[in-house]
């Protein structure tokens, strides 16, 4: 336990001193604020109905920005661009260790390969949780600002809804981060891992889903692909019409499938790290 704590502290130092970590979080927060509040608010002020907000009415746009829909606001950007950003974080965190050649010395000095790698995973989990909580705080602040500006009542969602939203956010980001970790481990290179991950997340899943629609009978497979499952979990809080947000699976089923993906990605990565020659 002491060795795992030491590895986690070391990896947290690396992640917090790394400019890339802060840049990725800043990009995510900017995209989240832009697409969840700035564009809908501008559309609301100009009468709504715009293509970018899927033709929503001004009342509907305002309702989606209120504190009461905080769980939806928190999760709706996560399946698509938020997930891609966390995939990049996972891929470069592990891939850069191969790129800089640091894993081999880390593994010599750590209690075991598993301990060193688990320390990295725990540190990434801390970043994921921190990012989701920060996003919640930013969204809460902006929703209150919109409510006050538009003279609307400030009604918060039930604590259970909020907890479910935060848990789902952590699960979505955790799954994508673990996918990045797996790609970084397999590719042993940050660039290749990021490239492969983005091709999958941004293009291949949608192409497979489109092919399944054409061919028929393949939906049971494409419906549970990682990105589409993350979309279903986000969709269980509302926000239909947002790119990446789906209502194919129920929230509970989507959560379980995502947890299975997360666990599988971690176990495969750990197995590869333990068995393969790193030099």
């Amino acid at each position: 336990m002491t060795a795992l704590f030491a590895s986690t502290r070391a990896e947290l130092l690396r992640l917090t001193k790394w400019r890339v970590t802060w840049l990725l979080i800043a990009v995510w927060l900017t995209l989240n604020v832009t697409f969840v509040y700035v564009i809908p608010y501008l559309s609301y002020r100009t009468g709504g109905g715009g293509e970018i907000t899927d033709g929503q009415s001004p009342e509907s746009l305002l309702a989606d920005m209120m504190p009461t829909t905080l769980a939806q606001s928190l999760t709706q950007g996560m399946p698509l661009f938020g997930g891609a950003i966390m995939l990049i974080l996972g891929a470069i965190t592990v891939g850069s260790g191969f790129g800089w050649g640091t894993w081999k010395t880390v593994f010599v000095q750590s209690a075991s390969r598993s301990t060193a790698f688990l320390g990295t995973l725990v540190a990434l989990a801390v970043v994921v949780v921190g990012t989701v909580v920060t996003t919640l705080a930013v969204d809460a602040g902006l929703s209150v600002l919109v409510a006050v500006t538009e003279a609307q009542p400030i009604d918060w969602p039930p604590a259970t809804d909020l907890a479910a939203g935060v848990g789902s956010g952590i699960l979505i980001f955790g799954m994508w981060t673990a996918a990045g970790v797996l790609l970084g481990t397999v590719a042993r290179s940050p660039a290749l891992a990021v490239g492969l991950g983005l091709v999958w997340a941004m293009a291949l899943e949608n192409l497979l889903a489109a092919a399944a629609n054409l061919l028929g009978g393949l939906e049971p497979i494409t419906d549970v692909l990682p990105g589409r499952t993350a979309g279903s979990l986000a969709g269980s809080f509302g926000g239909g019409g947002t790119p990446g947000v789906l209502t194919i699976l129920g929230g509970g089923t989507a959560g379980l499938v995502l947890a299975a993906y997360l666990l599988a990605f971690v176990v495969i990565s750990l197995t590869l790290i333990r068995r393969r020659d790193v030099v």
Partner: protein, 239 residues
């Protein structure tokens, strides 16, 4: 037990080819032992076996009384790879603190290691912006954190200017005087004379395991490079 490293009949294959062909030697504690030989002779493979990251076909490698690579050795053995293995997008001090934290140590030990390699003035500089020699020294600082019992250095002076090389060798001997055992590989023969003990390798075999003085006497040459060449010829004739 007085030996820091005890290798017996070590056989290693890589890519289906024999790389180490039945090597046996010991490294006394508190000494600077040079592992010398031309590029490709198996020095790095031997070093990897000593730090416990190399699969061996036969033979035994014991380090500080334990099997090489065993968990008990993780805090007492440090390995500096041939290419600097440090994070280029962190500063010198952050790299040292990272490796200090890995073994449960704090920033004071990290700062001490950075000072030891003469990089205190560049501590806040990003490694990616350093010269090749400075990167090597940063890698060395990360290996020095926490005062290890055995320090295994794979070609630590490659690319360094003569002044820096001199400083590093002085550091190595100071550490040895403090009880640290150093196994230092090099393909530069003029560094051989700086070692207490020499392991001369060629084509996966050990040509000599002796002090520089003994090697000079055995080969009948005051020049270690010439002595090494004579040993190769002698071995070749004997084979």
């Amino acid at each position: 037990m007085d030996d820091a490293v005890h290798v017996q009949d070590l056989l290693v294959d890589r890519g289906g080819h024999p790389v180490l062909r039945g090597i046996s030697f010991t490294v006394p504690r508190g000494s600077v032992t040079g592992l010398l030989g031309p590029s490709g002779c198996g020095k790095t493979t031997l070093i990897r076996a000593v730090v416990g990251v190399q699969v061996v076909r036969a033979g035994s490698v014991r380090v500080l009384g334990e099997p090489a690579g065993s968990r008990a050795l993780r805090r007492s053995v440090r390995y500096m790879t041939q290419a600097p293995s440090i994070y280029g997008d962190l500063s010198v001090a952050e790299n040292a603190r990272y490796f200090a934290r890995l073994i449960g140590l704090g920033p004071a030990e990290a700062a001490h290691a950075v000072e030891q390699v003469g990089l205190a003035d560049a501590a806040d500089q990003l490694v990616g912006t350093l010269s090749g020699g400075q990167r090597t020294r940063t890698s060395l600082a990360c290996a020095l954190v926490g005062r290890p019992e055995l320090l295994v250095l794979d070609e630590p002076t490659v690319g360094l200017d003569p002044v820096l090389r001199e400083e590093l060798w002085t550091t190595f001997h100071r550490m040895a005087a403090d009880g640290v055992t150093l196994l230092v590989s090099s393909h530069v023969m003029d560094e051989a004379g700086r070692c207490d003990q020499l392991l001369l390798m060629r084509e996966g075999a050990l040509l000599a395991d002796a002090t520089p003085t003994q090697i000079r006497q055995r080969a009948g040459s005051d020049d270690l490079e010439q002595a090494f060449l004579r040993l190769i010829r002698t071995q070749g004739l004997a084979a």
